[in-house]
């Protein structure tokens, strides 16, 4: 589904993403680990078009989304959530979803999609509240609902569980797993190894912009380079 090939991004002398290549299959949750500053968020930004990489390709279902205008990545089914939720604070919860382009849907269909998405993340009872009245965790759920509106094939998630109430976290994971069951893929950046081990069969470990290890949880736990760079002690 997704092929990332030799992707690189520099900021002056700093190489934030260094010749990174990997694939994500249909319905796969690919975990991404790395210390702060390892280049995880830059990698996601390059993949979704918010940053132009210096070199490399990102192919989603065979189409290169790096060379196209940034807003068209979502038209290919690529969604993105942010570490600090980016709700449109001055719009209502419902309006936060309705600003998504209709792309062939009628106004009624779009409204139906929005209501269904809000129900799934249990925000349908606050649909007329302004987004900045929601808690941080609810805003993350709102962001997930907004991504549902684009009917994603692949979602890039940057630290979705950081600072989230456990109940909301559980709901978020349930909805993610539900989407994955229907064939949606995800790339999940997360600092909590146990959460990643639970949700992902395959994990990339990034250090100083490079992929230093890729594999299942057991391989990751045992890899000396990962232990040295990230885990600190042999698990």
């Amino acid at each position: 589904m997704l092929e990332v090939r030799e992707l690189s991004k520099r900021f002056g002398a700093i190489v934030a993403v260094d010749n990174v290549s990997f694939d994500v299959g249909r319905g796969e949750v690919l975990g991404v680990m790395g210390v702060n500053g390892a280049g995880k968020t830059t990698l996601l930004n390059c993949m979704c078009g918010l940053l132009k990489p210096d070199s490399g390709h990102v192919l989603l279902n065979g189409k290169d989304i790096v060379s196209a205008p940034a807003h068209t990545a979502s038209h290919q089914g690529l969604g993105r959530t942010f570490q600090v939720p980016r709700s449109f604070h001055g719009l209502t919860v419902l309006e936060n979803l309705l600003v998504v382009p209709a792309r062939g849907r009628t106004r009624t269909e779009l409204l139906g999609c929005a209501m269904a998405a809000l129900e799934r993340v249990h925000l349908d009872h606050v649909l007329h509240n302004y987004a900045d009245e929601l808690s941080g965790g609810q805003q993350k759920l709102l962001e997930l609902a907004r991504i549902m509106m684009i009917e994603p094939r692949l979602i890039l998630m940057d630290e979705p569980f950081a600072g989230m109430h456990p109940d909301l976290c559980r709901l978020f994971i349930e909805q993610l797993e539900e989407m994955v069951r229907t064939g949606v893929s995800a790339m999940l950046v997360c600092h909590e190894p146990e959460t990643l081990y639970r949700l992902s069969r395959r994990i990339l470990v990034i250090h100083q912009g490079k992929v230093i290890c890729s594999g299942g949880p057991e391989e990751i736990r045992r890899d000396p380079a990962v232990v040295d760079a990230y885990l600190g002690t042999a698990a």
């Binding site: 969604g79 709700s87 604070h89 309006e95």
Partner: protein, 294 residues
């Protein structure tokens, strides 16, 4: 002097509505692209000169001048966005680059108006019938009533688009967070281009209203209007459309009342004082954080 107060309050309201329009277009341009348009006042004066040519010289109606000024200055805005701003946004310091760019546009506009029209002050002259209306002890010129009505209609139209249409909501969302809107597939470039051009069109139209209400203008009157626009925008709360209009009305009332009691020259000083007091009490301006949710 107190007998004149109702008259002055009405004048303050009319001038304030025009200042509100000045602030509204500035705040949308700022919101759409995060650029401070230092050429704001100069383009307003360009609109006034369009009215001068069409109305005073050609004898056309002020309404036609408004249409031509709207389209002409909107076209300038569209060109500026397409040819320059897209590139400036990719520069290492986009805010500083666009700040200097608009300073250049300001000087160029003033110089171009000076070249075309000379340094003399000009007025928009049109024989309205009747010349004025009387409401009890208050006399208001036909031109001022027309300016107020057009000003209210434009503000209402802009608010309708911003708060009631999906296009306006998307624009407000872009102002709140461009990246979040981009990743859900909204073509922000096209959205910004339209917002930019329409805002510039409103700048041109405001210039015609200013030509009708103010006695005279010259090629370098623009700086004063740029300053006023920035005052009302900061007064109301940066990036807040309702704040810009309310800020404009407050500033207009302060200016006119001050002119009555303390003299014309102190008008802007008192406006600045009001700005300082409000900023001290409410640092984000009257409508606080640029929340756009009023």
């Amino acid at each position: 002097m107190t007998a004149l107060l109702p008259q002055v309050l009405i004048n303050g309201l009319i001038v304030g509505a025009i200042y509100g329009l000045l602030g509204l277009s500035l705040t949308i341009v700022y919101g759409a692209m995060r650029v401070a348009n230092l050429a704001h006042g100069d383009l307003v004066v360009a609109g006034s000169f369009i009215a001068f040519v069409m109305t005073t010289q050609q004898g056309q109606s002020p309404m036609l001048s408004m249409l031509v000024a709207f389209i002409g200055v909107a076209a300038i805005g569209g060109l500026i966005y397409s040819l320059a701003l897209r590139r400036l946004q990719n520069s290492p310091e986009p805010e500083i680059a666009s700040f200097l760019f608009f300073y250049g546009v300001s000087l160029m506009t003033g110089a171009a108006l000076l070249f075309i029209f000379g340094a003399d002050t000009r007025s928009v002259l049109f024989q309205f019938d009747p010349i004025s209306f009387r409401f009890a002890d208050v006399i208001v010129s036909h031109a001022r009533i027309l300016a107020l009505a057009i000003g209210i209609a434009i503000v209402a139209g802009i608010f309708f688009v911003l708060y009631r249409t999906i296009y306006g909501k998307a624009l407000r969302a872009a102002i709140m967070n461009r990246e979040a809107l981009l990743v859900v597939g909204v073509n922000i470039d096209r959205l910004s281009l339209v917002a930019f051009a329409v805002s510039f069109g409103v700048i041109g139209l405001t210039g015609v209203l200013i030509g009708l209400v103010f006695p005279a203008f010259h090629p370098f009157s623009g700086l004063e209007f740029t300053i006023i626009a920035f005052i009302v925008v900061v007064l109301g709360g940066l990036g807040h459309p309702v704040g810009a209009v309310v800020g404009g009305i407050i500033f207009g009332l302060c200016e006119q009342v001050t002119a009555l009691y303390l003299g014309q020259s102190l008008g802007m000083i008192v406006g600045f004082l009001v700005l300082i007091v409000i900023i001290l009490i409410k640092p984000d301006g009257l409508f606080g954080r640029a929340s756009w949710n009023a």
